[in-house]
Symmetry: C2
Subunit: 121 residues, 2 copies
């Protein structure tokens, strides 16, 4: 679950993104407690400071709240659907931008998308 790829950008950002994805998938719900910074750091083989950084980022975005001595929790009032939509559209825009930058159009974007698979190759 908490597997980190050091090659793909800042670790703290990956952790924050994974939390958002878990919310979008329903594996994490409003009000639920996230793993403690120390626990998640150990599980993901990462420095506790890095997890703290990730949690701070999530709090900055209004997704979590931190209760000193208690832990970090998903806020009760998060709009999960909005988060999913936002992440989804950001990914789609990024893809579309990349395709246009290659001099091709939305049609090509859709076509290639239907042809690829996620595994290597």
């Amino acid at each position: 679950m908490w597997h980190i790829e050091p090659e793909k950008g800042p670790i703290y950002a990956q952790i924050a993104a994974e939390v958002k994805r878990m919310l979008a998938r329903g594996e994490l719900r409003p009000g639920e407690k996230l793993p403690s910074a120390r626990a998640l750091a150990e599980e993901a083989r990462v420095n506790p400071n890095t997890v703290v950084h990730a949690y701070a980022e999530l709090e900055r975005e209004g997704i979590t709240e931190t209760r000193r001595g208690l832990g970090t929790f998903v806020r009760e009032d998060v709009d999960v659907e909005a988060i999913r939509r936002r992440e989804l559209e950001a990914a789609a825009r990024g893809y579309l931008r990349a395709v246009l930058a290659l001099g091709l159009g939305p049609d090509a974007a859709a076509k290639v998308l239907s042809e690829v698979s996620v595994d290597a190759g």
Copy 2:
């Protein structure tokens, strides 16, 4: 043309990617000379060393060749279509992976793609 966004990953990687995109779009052809490191550095408001780094990366990938005292050139034998295809599929796979990570399927990926536009929002 050579506008760099410091927020989006290593500058040298952005420069290398832009060269590949120009190849894919036909704005740069096999045998053509790239701007000198110093010239491109000035135009992109970037350090010459950074451009050298980018060109070295392109050479490592077999896309360019460097002739000392002359400049850096696109190799005559580059397969432009292969580069375009590779970049395109990499983008598509990245998008698809992101959508699947959100707990949705290829159908949703296609649907959202058809709805978004590249400009903000």
